[in-house]
């Protein structure tokens, strides 16, 4: 396997883009990434998207994006893994460059959730589960999260989980591409209404539209580019779709395996990871993500958040631009926002969000309630 580098990144602001199309967002992010890398051509395109067939009646995004970019000739694919679709596209693009088949690929993820009503988006999220026995009984993504939250509370207590959204919002303050670029107090989180008890509204990421793109290049091309580079490593693992079919619902095996694999491939140990981009679709997901990855003991991650250990100046900064909760969570694009932000960190382009000792960052993306996980390491070169 050859080395794979990130040569450029691009992304849109996450918002309710009422006047934009999914294609338009994908193109904007892609062109920005091309400009950032100083390239105008790639060998292939991988598009990450979760719900285009449900919300846009579109199931051929690969060719569509290639055409929109004036590249209707090269191979182009849409890759899906529910909310982690962007990371699945990254995995595919990484493999193509690492194998030597391609010198450069574009990986772009996009989602336009505002094309659907909230209930359609909620049903769409359940397409990442087992529709015939989860949705069938009325369960949705949030109620499954609430069940995990309850078990967590019974086993460990859950006084500190509401500190995750507070931490994420503090980091998003003033971030231009964030959907919610403002601070949020713990009191406000705890006084927001339950959407599925004990999960509160402000512990859950919102609905937004956006697209993010990265250009991956191999060693041959990397030497010729002037743009700042970072090195990428990606791994993935799976688990049973329904968390309650698993031996331990509070341990995401997929996350644990993917993180171990990517650390092995990158030849890094956990204490060499300078920051983490967590998949905080909900506060309980953030906790389980951090604990399953082996960076916090079971039941202890909330304490880390409450104590400020996960702040930008803390011992293990997390969600350095606001994470899913505050930067935003446009499903298929989310993982690529994480990668782009990690790239900005390790190339010292993160501005006021820059963390010290950003030698290597870990990004974790989760599809469904832990069924698919991707772990990516973005490393300084």
């Amino acid at each position: 396997m050859g080395k794979v580098f990130i040569a450029g990144v691009g992304f849109t602001k996450i918002a309710e883009h009422w006047d934009r199309s999914l294609d338009g967002l994908l193109v904007e992010a892609s062109l920005k990434a091309f400009d950032n890398a100083g390239l105008s051509e790639v060998d292939s395109i991988y598009v990450g998207n979760a719900l285009a067939e449900a919300l846009q009646d579109q199931m051929h995004l690969g060719a569509a994006v290639a055409e929109d970019l004036g590249l209707a000739r090269i191979p182009a694919f849409r890759v899906e893994a529910a909310e982690a679709s962007g990371a699945a596209a990254l995995y595919a693009g990484f493999n193509e460059v690492a194998s030597g088949r391609a010198d450069a690929v574009l990986v772009v993820g996009g989602e336009k959730l505002s094309d659907g009503l909230p209930e359609e988006v909620s049903s769409g999220l359940m397409m990442g589960g087992r529709p015939y026995y989860e949705s069938f009984i009325g369960a949705d993504f949030y109620s499954l999260n609430a069940l995990l939250y309850r078990i967590y509370c019974e086993r460990y207590g859950c006084d500190n989980l509401a500190s995750f959204p507070v931490m994420s919002h503090a980091h998003a303050e003033g971030v231009a591409h964030a959907q919610y670029p403002f601070k949020l107090s713990l009191e406000k989180v705890l006084s927001s209404p339950f959407i599925a008890e004990p999960l509160r509204r402000l512990e859950v990421s919102g609905i937004g539209d956006g697209a993010a793109a990265v250009i991956l290049v191999g060693e041959r091309l990397a030497g010729k580019l002037k743009s700042p580079l970072s090195q990428l490593q990606v791994a993935s693992a799976t688990d049973r779709l329904n968390p309650f079919d698993r031996e331990s619902p509070l341990r995401f095996q997929s996350v644990g395996l993917a993180v171990s694999l990517v650390l092995r491939d990158a030849r890094l140990s956990r204490n060499e990871i300078g920051f983490i981009e967590l998949y905080d679709a909900t506060s309980i997901m953030a906790a389980l993500c951090l604990e399953s990855s082996g960076f916090a003991d079971p039941g202890k991650s909330g304490e880390l958040a409450a104590r400020g250990e996960l702040d930008l100046g803390g011992s293990l900064p997390c969600n350095t631009f606001g994470g899913l909760k505050a930067r935003g969570h446009p499903l298929g694009a989310t993982a690529l926002y994480q990668i782009a932000e990690a790239h900005l960190q390790v190339t010292d382009q993160a501005g006021r969000n820059q963390v010290d000792s950003a030698g290597a960052g870990l990004a974790i993306a989760i599809g469904g309630v832990g069924a698919t996980a991707f772990a990516s390491i973005v490393k300084r070169v």
Binding site: E16, W18, D19, S114, L117, P193
Partner: protein, 349 residues
């Protein structure tokens, strides 16, 4: 923006049915907590009321204030999305009831919640061109909200009527300017034969209500040089309490200029009557020389904005009919079961 020359409000009337249901009572049924409720309470038409009866109530009050011979009313346009008949104009019933028959024109208008101000603009045109001497513009609704839908908390009942004519010493207010802002924006609609409207959730906010209301108001402020300082009252369409206040904030209008005409917390969203009832409330308290900016909003979507200047005759004419407060304060609270009965939601066969 259009300068409206020579059109005045001669009489006005606002009617709100007596029945109220608290949003909390509706929330109790569906498990929605107090923090989530868009209004405090809403008005509900009684079992023997509909758009025609409420329009007649409002028109009669407008007539008393105008003090004109009803036979001189040349056009009656009723804006509503809850017409008693799909085919047969409500205006004909109103005309008969107030003694205005035969009138020259009587049609019903539909433009979601701005059908009432649409009637106001078109009657203004008929007066301005001299086609009719007096005209009656009415906005009235017994609005539909599907049980459990967000609209159920706000969809309310009420009517407002305005008799327009040439400005003279009996006129209570002058319509100085008008501006409309209409685009194809499907944020809320109801198909033929459907019982309830559907809406596109958050799409009804920024790209719909705010874009159109702000667009219409700005064209009056920027386009014709009206300034916020010279306007004493701002009346916006009020589908809830939040939206009109947020629109004011976007435009830099002090809250104090909006609150006098803000009724949604007490009666909900009376749809075609909604912003017009806000205008009635302001006319009940404004002083001669003061200026009012009225901006409606209708889904689909559009906004009409008017600059209205209050005239001297308001002082002697406004108490020729009951003020809106007498309807706002005369309340009978009903529970959810009674509400369902009044709304015809209980199937009896």
């Amino acid at each position: 923006m259009v300068r409206v020359g020579g059109v005045a409000i001669r009489g006005y009337g606002g009617y709100v049915p007596r029945y109220r249901i608290r949003a909390e009572e509706i929330g109790r049924i569906w498990g929605v907590g107090a923090a989530e409720l868009p209004v405090g309470e809403k008005s509900v038409a009684g079992p023997d009321e509909d758009v025609a009866t409420m329009a007649v109530e409002a028109a009669r009050m407008a007539l008393r204030r105008a003090g004109i011979d009803p036979r001189k009313i040349g056009a009656i346009h009723v804006g509503s999305e809850s017409k008693p008949y799909a085919v047969k104009p409500t205006g004909t019933i109103v005309a008969e009831a107030i003694g205005a028959n035969p009138s020259k024109l009587a049609a019903d208008f539909e433009f979601a919640c701005k059908a009432g101000t649409e009637a106001l603009s078109l009657i203004s045109g008929l007066i301005q061109t001299g086609i009719i001497e007096y005209g009656l513009a009415i906005g009235a609704d017994t609005a539909q909200g599907r049980p459990r839908d967000a609209l159920e908390y706000t969809a309310a009942s009420g009517a407002a009527a305005f008799i327009l004519g040439k400005p003279d010493r009996q006129a209570v207010a002058l319509i100085e300017a008008w501006s409309g802002y209409v685009t194809d924006t499907p944020d809320f609609w109801r198909r033929p034969f459907d019982r309830y409207p559907v809406h596109a959730a958050r799409f009804t906010g920024a790209p719909a209500y705010f874009k159109h209301v702000v667009g219409a108001v700005k064209s009056l402020l920027d386009g014709d040089g009206y300034s916020i300082d010279e306007i004493d009252y701002f009346v916006f369409h009020q589908p809830n309490v939040k939206f009109p206040l947020a629109a004011a904030k976007m435009l830099g209008i002090p809250k104090e200029k909006v609150l006098p005409g803000l009724l949604s917390d007490k009666i909900g969203n009376t749809y075609s009557a909604c912003s017009l009832l806000g205008l009635v409330k302001v006319l009940d308290q404004a002083q001669p020389g003061q200026k009012i900016l009225l901006a409606s909003y209708g889904s689909g979507a559009g906004s009409d904005a008017f600059i209205i200047k209050v005239l001297d005759a308001i002082l002697e004419r406004r108490d020729l009919a009951p003020r809106l407060d007498s309807f706002l304060e005369d309340k009978i609270y009903i529970d959810y079961a009674t509400y369902l009965k009044f709304r015809g939601e209980i199937l009896r066969r």
